[in-house]
Amino acid sequence: MSLFRQCYDWLYTQTQDTVLSVLAAGPIPQHVAFVMDGNRRYARRKHAKVQQGHSDGFLALRRMLEICLKLGVRCVTAYAFSIENFKRSPEEVGALMSLAEEKLQELCQHGGLLQQHGVRLNVLGRKELLPERVQIAARRAEEMTRQNDRAILNLCMPYTSRDEITTAIESTINDALAEDRSPASLSESDIDDHLMTSTPPDVLVRTSGVKRLSDFLLWQCCEDTQIQFTATYWPDFGLLDFIPIILDYQRKVWSRAP
């Protein structure tokens, strides 16, 4: 069985790599954002604990991150935890914080996915709201991957877009005061420059069938981002769900070509 399993895994990997090579022959989005929704409903459907849903959700994040990196996506932004999620039960929040601490360490270990693909990790949001142990894990992960320059993984936790926009406006105004700039000189690009994420996503994917942005990347996604709502729960999301999303993006790029 072990040999059979190894053969199966090898064949699966080869097939996946072939599919990705075909997709990569066309235009690939440079920045993909994910709202990783549906972990709890996935767990309920499997009659498992909510924590199992979140663990499987992390596996889905790893899986999709690897797929994106092999495709040539340069930046992946994932909505890991909303400021609003602190309203959940203390037990669930505690479990999520423990999972975050564990997985931040796992992601950045030597030989891990991020080091293998040269990915720099950024933890974006109101980090001061996180437990101290998670803040330490986040800081360590960011420091360990700071020199990586092939791609970026933004983990938004805890984050809301309105909070990001408010902070950007506040910083813009305070920098303008410090530099003694005239009010008329302020522009949208000044606010862009003060946001936590530097480039707008080409594609945003929200899983679990919900058709809302839920306070995620509102400023960045309101222009030309393709927003894809899919009914698949996040822990189940994989390459088969991602292929039509890439195909849609490619058709958009080709339809705009001169």
């Binding site: 926009i165 406006i169 105004i173 606010i191 919900v210 058709k211 839920s214 509102l218 309101c222 958009k252």
Partner: protein
């Protein structure tokens, strides 16, 4: 071997086009008839937004007429369904430029449009509910075309009020100028907001400029050498969703006035104001770009930009039905 990968990708796209076209046809045959406008629904949006998508190259007499017709239809249907507020946005500023036409021609039963800030018009031509009086928002609403001048905290939002006019009482009919700043709380009133890109990121930037201007003026007056600003989301919300702005919609309906470029068509927001759509439910089926007949879709033929489509009542009712079924968790 890249030529082989490109060839295979071309075949994949061909198969994808066929599969999605068949899927779109199946959807069009299988869809159920949505509930009537006035049907009882588990929940009805208090505030509905309509995003009108017009191709940059397709702004012409026909598309403008379709936009205006869509606004009139949407307002009538929204009111019939129990929606109290409608916001309409288009990227080309078509509806804000034509707001006078909308004000003049929009018929919502026995009420007439009152433009927020329009103090000189027609106070003598309309009866107002005795209490509470209509709001007078002064110069808070800019005229289209001056959307770039945001020095007075104009956010490019044109607001039309449609108060329900009470029946005449022989001895108590009064005609007077509204003075209160509170909006009429008449349960049967209707509010229409017309937006353009001036109401979007431009408005947020204008607000930032206003805050900076205010701080600099305060510094000048009291002679302090340094001052920093602390803002909260509540501060920003008070301004953007306040009397000079518009509140967050519960539901957004996306309608393609111009024929879309591809099928399926993923959602894009075309510059819709970002602040207010934090929790907005978005009604958009990529396999069913509303009102367009895909049986004639020919990917090898260039799009006919002279055709335009107005909002369809069935799609509007379907959006209301979908909204009634959506679940809100607010982070919990």
């Amino acid at each position: 071997m890249s030529w082989l990968a490109s060839l295979v990708l071309w075949v994949v796209h061909l198969v994808y086009s066929l599969v999605t076209s068949v899927h779109a046809l199946r959807i069009s045959f299988a869809k159920s008839i949505p509930e009537p406008l006035s049907a009882h629904r588990r929940r009805v949006p208090e505030h509905l937004a309509l995003l009108l998508v017009v191709d940059d190259e397709a702004v012409n007499t026909k598309s403008i007429a379709c936009c205006l017709k869509s606004v009139r239809n949407a307002a009538a249907w929204a009111k019939a369904a129990g929606v109290r507020r409608l916001t309409v946005y288009d990227r080309q500023s078509i509806i804000t430029k034509e707001f006078r036409d909308i004000q003049r021609t929009l018929d919502l039963g026995n009420s007439s449009a009152h433009l927020a800030g329009d103090t000189d018009s027609s106070d003598s031509d309309y009866e107002y509910p005795l209490t509470p009086p209509l709001s007078d928002e002064g110069d808070s609403t800019p005229l289209p075309g001056t959307g770039d001048d945001l020095t007075n905290q104009h956010f490019g939002v044109v607001t039309l009020h449609f108060p329900e006019v009470q029946k005449k009482r022989p001895s108590s009919v009064k005609r007077r100028r509204a003075k209160s700043t509170k909006e009429a709380s008449n349960e049967r009133s209707f509010v229409l907001h017309l937006l353009s890109p001036a109401s979007s990121k431009v408005a947020i930037t204008a607000m930032a400029r206003s805050v900076l201007r205010g701080v600099k003026e305060t510094k000048g007056q009291i002679g302090t050498s340094s001052k920093t600003v602390n803002l909260s989301t509540g501060d920003i919300n008070c301004v953007l969703e306040g009397p000079h702005g518009f509140p967050s919609p519960d539901l957004m309906v996306v309608h393609y006035v111009s024929k879309p470029k591809q099928n399926p068509l993923p959602l894009e927001l075309h510059g819709f104001p970002p602040w207010q759509i934090r929790l907005t439910e978005i009604s958009h089926d990529p396999h069913r770009p509303a009102s367009w007949n895909w049986s004639g879709f020919n990917p090898f033929k260039s799009r006919d930009l002279s055709t335009a489509s107005e909002l369809n009542e069935l799609d509007f009712r379907m959006a209301l039905d979908d909204y009634a079924l959506a679940e809100m968790r607010f982070g919990k």
